[in-house]
Structure formats: C-alpha cells, structure tokens
Symmetry: C4
C-alpha cells in the first residue's frame, strides 16, 4: 500500500546522508497521505545503505502501525503530533545536523541575518523550550511534538518551516517529504552562516525588516516572482 508515498519518503531519507545532514542513522523523514489519514516513516535504527522503499512503515494518525516489518522510528510520536496540529504540512524531517544542533544545544533561536534565511524562513527560527521532567518521563517523543506546537502558537508553520528542540536538534517540514528535506538543508546552511556572522561581529543586528519582507515575499505569497 501507498507504494508511491513509500518511494518518495525513501528517496527523501536517502537524501539526508547525501547532503551531509546525518551520521549513521541519526535522522528520519516521513510523508503523509492526507486523504487516507496515513503517514509513512523510516524504520528505527536501520542503516541507510541497507534501506529499501518497502522497509518504510505505514502508520495511522492514532499511532497504530498499519503496515511494515520493522518498528517505526522512535520519533514517530513527534511526527504524529505535528501532522495533527499542522494540517498544511505533508512531510517532516528530523536530523542531528551539526550546525543546527549546535544552536539547539545553546538553546538559542537563529536570528535572521540575511536573505538566504529570509528566502525560506520568515523571522527567527525558534528554539522550543526544554521539556519538564514530567513531560520527559511520561511520553517523551509525544511531548516533544506538543512543545513544538506550543512554540508555534502565534507562528504560521508554513512561514517558519522548522524549529530547534533545546539540547536536541532540528525538525523541519514542508508540503511533502522532499520539501521538508530541502528545508533541512537550508536550515543547516543558515545555521552555519549565522554562527559565523556573529563571530565576525559580536553585536550584529538582524537584517532590516524590509529586506526580510522583500525576500520572503519574492519567493512566497501571491506576488512571488522567483523561479519559473
């Protein structure tokens, strides 16, 4: 079932090592079929060079495994909460990509220092708060999702397609699995350049708001004119 979606999610997963976003099995990508209410996700801890499209696991939105010989990624409950709360998104990625993870470990949101950031993320890329001891012991991965959702209470996840989880690493999303991976690549590049920008100038302010508006709107929104 869902062979086409499995193939897409498989290919999006395989893009992670090619793009240098992951070491070993430290990442996972999922994609959802909104009509059927099912999503497809990478199995837990399987080597990327042994992964096959048919190894992808099919889950429903109650968290039940619908198909698959493997256990799904241990982060599946996080993906599930995000799919339920953000109906606009079709794919989710989690990685430990080194620059984004370094910001997460510093518990800092990434300020928008330039147009590379503004082309994809409108404003700061937020760092979600740490989970409480209770949230961790009770249902860690599910609560990770709920804390992300809390972080986006007043943000549109389409305008800011990613988040840092404190002391952990990034999640990104998009209209499908491929776009979610694209945003994970952009986040890593933006995180790297923001870190270097701060080292070149300790008191550097964010890019002027008009530049941020211009670039985000040049690629998104009703008057976008970038691309074909």
């Amino acid at each position: 079932m869902l062979e086409e979606l499995k193939q897409q999610v498989y290919e999006a997963n395989m893009e992670l090592p090619r793009r240098g976003l992951i070491t070993y099995t430290w990442g996972n990508v999922s994609g959802i079929d909104r009509e059927r209410g099912l999503f497809v996700i990478k199995p837990s801890g399987v080597d990327y060079d042994k992964l096959q499209p048919e190894d992808m696991v099919v889950m429903d939105l109650e968290g039940n495994k619908v198909e698959g010989k493997y256990k799904p990624s241990s982060d599946t409950p996080t993906h599930l909460e995000l799919y339920k709360a953000f109906p606009q998104i079709g794919g989710i990625v989690h990685t430990h990509s080194p620059w984004a993870t370094s910001w997460a470990q510093a518990c800092r949101s990434i300020p928008c220092y330039g147009t590379t950031h503004a082309d994809y993320f409108y404003g700061d890329i937020p760092c979600a708060r740490n989970l409480t001891e209770e949230e961790i012991s009770e249902a860690y991965e599910k609560n990770t999702g709920l804390v992300i959702i809390e972080t986006f209470k007043e943000k549109n996840p389409v305008f800011v397609p990613g988040v840092l989880c404190a002391n952990h690493g990034p999640f990104t999303w998009g209209k499908d699995a491929a776009e979610a991976v694209h945003n994970a690549v952009v986040l890593e590049e933006v995180a790297k350049m923001a870190a270097r920008t701060e080292r070149l100038r300790a008191d550097v302010p964010p890019a002027p708001q008009v530049i941020q508006d211009k670039h985000f709107m040049r690629k998104h929104g009703p008057n976008a004119y970038y691309g074909q």
Copy 2:
C-alpha cells in the same frame, strides 16, 4: 544565437556547484557579447543537474528578453546595471557562498590580510550599504546594481573584481564568465582565511601596503611576471 557564449555561460554556471559555492539554485552567472550588446544569463530557479546550454536566456541591455524559453534569473536587473556601468567587465557571478555571505551578513568589508587576497583584489573587498526602504520596494534588483556602482565611485572594478551586498551575499566579475567564477572562488577562500585570521589575533592589522602593492602588481599591470 550566441551559441558559443551560451556554452561558456552554461559551463561557468556548472562550475558553481563543483566548487562548493552554491546550495540548490542559489547562484547565477552571466556573460556579455559587447559588440552585439546582448548578455546571456542562467534561468531562474532551474536545478543545476537539469540545466542545458540551450536553457540560457539572452537579454538586451534595455532588459528585454531576446531569446529563451525560461524566465531569466531574478537577479538579471542587477547584472544589467553592472554591465552598463562597468564597460571593462565581460562576466558576472552572484552566489550565497557561505564565508563571503557571512561577511555580508555582518555588513563588513574584508580587509586585506595577506598575499592570497592581494594577488586578486587590490585593497578591501567592500561591503555595499543596505538599500533604503524606497529602493527595495521600487526596483529591488535594479537598485542592488546601482548601490554596487555607488560603492565603486572611487574604485576601479578591474582592480577589485567583487563586492559584498549587505545582509545578502557576494557579486564578482571578470573579463568573461569563467574569470568571474574564478574570482568568486578566490573571494570565498579569502573570506574564510580572513575570518580565521581575526580569530587567531583579535587586533590584527591589514598586510603592509608594500606587500599588497607587490603581490597585486606581480600578477596584474604592465610588469606582471606570474604565469606563462
């Protein structure tokens, strides 16, 4: 038309990912035929691995598309202004290469700390001022070109074949598209080493002027003696 120039511009564009200067479609190269008053530029937002020489777009110096099935790069009006203002140049490159972009995001010119820089750029690689709100809303890409030209009011663009646009990224140029890419590679390498130099010594001064003069003149000017 302009098949040879299209091929050159195509190859110069393809050199950007090979040299690690771009992620996805974040860059563009153009080249000009001064006799005909036409320039050739990469189409907007087309994947590098799908790009073909015949996809290059031909533009005239009034900004009209003369030939091409695709829309030209969204940065085309910037290239156009530079070609009009700098008659000595034959090729232009724009990238978001990470080290140069970090300097641009810090709104800092790159001081000349050594001979690698002095071999190609005479003095600072300047960071152009930010555009005003009016300049952004009115004709953003065209005004980006005009602000670069303003930055070079008292500089020779042949001696300083590149610039940083504040909160955005670098433009470089050269006698043709290939040399413009060569200068983009050099700028990225110089930007990286200058950042590291400052971290090794907080109060580091620029290289002595005599060294800067010697190295620039060793490769350029009437008594150049580098190369064959």
Copy 3:
C-alpha cells in the same frame, strides 16, 4: 590464526580514513578474542592503502607478539592495559581526529550539551591527566593506559566508551572493533558540536540531567527501545 578477527580488525582500521578520522597512519584499531586471551592490532606506520588483513599483528596479554611479519602499533601497550582492566570491552581505537584532539590539547573534558552526546556517552567525556615526567620516561605507552584506567576508577567504561588523553588525542572502545570505531566517529561529531555550542553561548550549561538520563536509557539498559 584468528583469521576472522584479523578481517574484522582490518575492516575497522580501513573505516578510519573513510570516516575522515585520520591523516596518514595516525590511528590504530585492535580487537580481542577473550577466550584465547589474544588480541589483533594494526602494524606500526604502514600506509592504509597498502594494509592487508594478513598484516594484522597477533599479541598475547603479556605483550608478546604471537604472530605477524610487522611490528605492532607503537600504542600496543596502551591497548593491552585497557583490555586487562576493562573486561567488558572487545575493541579499541586510537586516532588524532581533529575535533577530539583539539579538546585533548585544551586538556578539557567534553560536557554533555545534548542528546547526540547522551545517546552514546553518559555524562562528560573525561580528559585524563598528563603523565608525569617519570611515567613518560619509564614506559610511556603502558602508563598512558594506566592513566586512562585511573580516570575510570569511578566510571563505567561501558557507559562512557571513550576518553581524551591530555595533549594527545582520543581513545574509544566498544564490544568489538567495529563498535569502537563507531564510537570514535560519534566522539568526533560530539566534540565538534560541543565546541560550536560554546562559541554560540559562552556560559552554556550542560543539558538537563533528565534529558541525559532519558536519551542514554532510550538506547542502552534494560528498557532500551531504539532500533529493531
């Protein structure tokens, strides 16, 4: 003799250059057969591209060469002491991997700043003390091992599968040679991210203890639920 172990140790050694952990011959991997009380280790100073499985050297736990045409790695006495003191381990790796070595050169333990670290190492990755002048002149490599063992007097080497030797570089270990290399890769990645984390926030605290506990236990211990 020990053909299978030699093959495993050979493959683990060859993984070091593939993973970017070593330059030239700056590393060595060994693996032990506990039943026979023999371990297999890389020969000293042989180029990786000339190495063959049959070049591996077989040693006993008194430090005698049992088989092999080459001299064993000069670090063999360190491996020997670790095998004797840590009966739970089956493979050992030494490298000069650049980020871990930079921490070692700074004589600093690596604090646990996030889940990537906590997934593999429980608490700080310790930096062992420098050897005394006497320890160096007397039996340098053996005493390197004894100082590591001293560092783990109150630590379980299974929970913290690696160490930094002051002004030198890292050793890691695991249940076999392959896992020891896996932990060397993780250590390098964790060392890199910890350094960047500190630059992004000078006063950054370690990750909350509950997060460290949760992640280590998610992958290790009786209730582990990561992987298949």
Copy 4:
C-alpha cells in the same frame, strides 16, 4: 634529463590538490639532485589538470634555467636560497593552505599544543618576520628565502621542517619532494587543531616539554621506535 626526479616532483605537485592544500595554481613543489647541483620545479601558473611530468623545469643553483619549455614558478628564487642554505633538505613545498595561511596572516608562530605537532615539528613552527620595503622592491622572492634562513639561524631545519611567511603562507621541506608534501599536510592539520585548541581554552599553555621531547624522539633521532 633527470626524468626520475621530474616524475617524483610531478607526483608531489599532484598530491597538493588531492590533499586539499591548494586552490587553482596556488602552490609549487621542487626536488633537488644534490650530486648534479640541479633542482626541478613546477612551472608558473599552469593548471594542475594539464600538468605533465615533462613540464617540470630544471634549474641550476645559480638560478639559470637548464631545461624546460615553461617559465619556472615565480617562487623559484625562494627555493634556490633554501637549497643553498639547508644542505640537509631534498624537497620544498609552498602552498596557501587555508589554516596555515591564517596563522601566517595573523603573523603568529604555531605553539606546540600536542603530540600530533610534536611527532613532526620540534617546538614552535615559527612565523618569519615581514620583509622590509627595500627587500620587497629589490628581489622579493630571493629575500623571502633569506628571511626564512634568518629565522632558522638558531634552529635546525630538520627538526622544524617548515615555516610561515608573514602575511603570505607556509613553506615546508623534507628529505625529498614527497616528504616535503607530507610535512605540508601535517602543518595544515596542526594549524587547524592549534586554532581550535585556543578557542576551547583562551589561556592554553603549550604541551609539557617532556611530552614534546618524548614524541619527537619516538619518531626521530637514534632511538626512534615508530614504524617498521
């Protein structure tokens, strides 16, 4: 003539881009035949991917070209002075490798922070002083050599097989061209780790002298016991 030496020098030059030490043509390697008093060096400004063994230029120790269709590297007078002053060396390399060049641009010697450095360089890797205006205008490349020699007035170039030229970049040497390149690779790695070490600990002292002695002597000198 000197076909074998040309082949060695050619191969040593080709190792520079493979090891990531150079961009474009920013480097050169030479090797000397001490019996004949002739050295072989890379031609100036020729692309590495077009270089052939027969393109190497043969020079005598008075600075005359003895054979070769190309002009020799513009740095030839520097190599010449070093061969005359340091009779123990058989090969020389110059690069603009990024980490070593960053130290050179900071006009700083590289302290010995650990065993990776001590295995190859005994004590600091010195940064030579800047040339005076007169030295630059008179015979720049020759005087670069003389200033290096001045730097080694009280140092043995066999124990410290490399130097940084202020605001310029590194030179390394060895018993032949291949060893000189090996030392250039080591210098770049050591320069990188030393920079990172200082960022991890601002007041970091050099490695204890006993460690420096032990490691240098383990690989060099009459009682060396590293390797086969």
